[in-house]
Symmetry: D3
Subunit: 137 residues, 6 copies
Amino acid sequence: MALVKYIDEAQASDRVKAVYQDIKATRGIETINFFWQALANDPSTLERTWASLKEIMAPDGALDPLTKELIYVAVSITNGCDYCTVSHLAAARKAGLSAEMRNELLAIVGMANETNRLASGYQVDVDPAFHQAVLDL
Amino acid sequence: MALVKYIDEAQASDRVKAVYQDIKATRGIETINFFWQALANDPSTLERTWASLKEIMAPDGALDPLTKELIYVAVSITNGCDYCTVSHLAAARKAGLSAEMRNELLAIVGMANETNRLASGYQVDVDPAFHQAVLDL
Amino acid sequence: MALVKYIDEAQASDRVKAVYQDIKATRGIETINFFWQALANDPSTLERTWASLKEIMAPDGALDPLTKELIYVAVSITNGCDYCTVSHLAAARKAGLSAEMRNELLAIVGMANETNRLASGYQVDVDPAFHQAVLDL
Amino acid sequence: MALVKYIDEAQASDRVKAVYQDIKATRGIETINFFWQALANDPSTLERTWASLKEIMAPDGALDPLTKELIYVAVSITNGCDYCTVSHLAAARKAGLSAEMRNELLAIVGMANETNRLASGYQVDVDPAFHQAVLDL
Amino acid sequence: MALVKYIDEAQASDRVKAVYQDIKATRGIETINFFWQALANDPSTLERTWASLKEIMAPDGALDPLTKELIYVAVSITNGCDYCTVSHLAAARKAGLSAEMRNELLAIVGMANETNRLASGYQVDVDPAFHQAVLDL
Amino acid sequence: MALVKYIDEAQASDRVKAVYQDIKATRGIETINFFWQALANDPSTLERTWASLKEIMAPDGALDPLTKELIYVAVSITNGCDYCTVSHLAAARKAGLSAEMRNELLAIVGMANETNRLASGYQVDVDPAFHQAVLDL
């Protein structure tokens, strides 16, 4: 149960309404989801977070929209954030996620968490060739 | 500094050598990286982990190889596993990662970690429409 | 739903009752919250945890009580512990937290989680001047 | 060892230079620390991150600058981000942190991590009174 | 509420049924718990995860079954995974866990999380003697 | 590199020396490891932490000393705390850890981190029978 009251469009100040309009126009949606309705209790965080998210998740980047949502879900599962997992899986579906893709995504997230701990448990050193390859990007 | 001695190919038992051969053949590489050389201290974990990774990261899945590596990196950064971050960034580069893609990847990982905490901090409820959309996959 | 039965004051052993009395006296409260009622299933952990918490959160330290609760909430959100987030936000409110402060707190927690991952993703080295400044404290 | 080359002021593009100037003016410092020099490889993330951080950490908020840095350090330790821990301890020192305050900060961070896990381990339910108190903020 | 439909034995494909039979035979249980019924939406992950778990948690290892479950619970609490905490506490109970043992387990998990953060907060260096002792295993 | 100066026995105050003596007597060791030498900068945290650890890790509990150290290592790897992983592996070795046990420990820690994320990713509901079994402990 949320720790703040949700602020829907009818109750929103003009400042909040402007963000809501932009969210709806950008995403082609009719209703504002709970995340933004919660953030609306803090208009400056609402504005800043939406501006950042809009820029980062823009469809014209080097990564396509579905890939971006998969990355978002991977982080959310690893952090154990249920809201974020569900909402970004829903966004991924809108961007083309199939059940097969979701299954692979979850399998990779599970596996990565396993090998992360094996690498930490044995305290494996970074291979110099890997470091160089990344530095040369 | 690793907590076990690395087992290179010259020192490896036949059981370990068989895994090393398969890693090299599957990935088209010449040298075995430190992660597997550490796991070789426990041949059954080496066999099991490689078999799982080979299956999950296979190139013929619903997700392409680069996307799979991006997901792997996203988890690794979120867990703060340096070895895993560098080694999977290197793998991602081999699969086509550009500097622009890496920058977007890191921006999304950062942003997802931010909004994960905002959602947790306000304890935002899952929108029923999102839950339904995911369940219908 | 808790994994142990809550032990309220009527059911408590003398050993547990003594801790409950001290909690109520120290905090000026009338009822014992669920956390302590759960820990009461393990009286030595109850005693030890309360003694540590009482010492650390004492009002006469170098940090004032509200600041201490803000730190507690920041950790709890980052760990995704809902109980701890709500209970320490409630304690912070008692110590003077306003809605504006809560909003800033959550914005900082979100931002810190974002830049933490950016620093880990790029594996930024510690600036020697920062290390020296901390060492000189 | 960082995964990107640091971009110092001499090498910076005009776009990056403008951010560097604002960082130096806002913070009253002479040199740009490694975090920003790493982010400069991705100018849009540099701009966005600095703009957000500048807004969130502004000295005229409901929380004072030292408290803000303490919250930042608490998150960074909990995430195990060494760079962030050291750099924000250094910032906290500049804002007035004493050794006594640092010791209390670390004691609280440790204790919060302990009780977070106890609450999760026993799966303690949120006390309705706490939830109400937070909702009434 | 799960994000996939549970697949019980009546609905299961032959491939899934074979795994269910092996789970029931290996564990001496009559019903398949929700975790496997969820994974059954992805038969290859179901097969792979069960095969790994069966191998790792086998009763004839160097660690006894109860100790293995305690380790599993410690990780699950630290990750804040409620499902995993409850299900592996239940498994631990079947393997001989008493209330006293559970209390000690939770106390250690709490304490380890506390000292982990103190070590990170002070950035304590590894004692060479500890490193050597581990390397000599 | 640590953020405080290590305080060895020669430099220690009487208050710190008393803790050091108790650590050496309790553990049968000759030298104080870096963790305590760092905490000694904050004598009250040193005293409190040692008192708690001594009580929790006492050899006469329901769990034996080796099992306790295994739990400690499992948490430390999951948190990515290198100091804690190495120091408690060293302590586990002193309590009887073999290389086979370490390998199994790490395999379980890896696997638990994998299935934790699968359970979170699919948001699996707790089986009522599991909850009841734990509640009946």
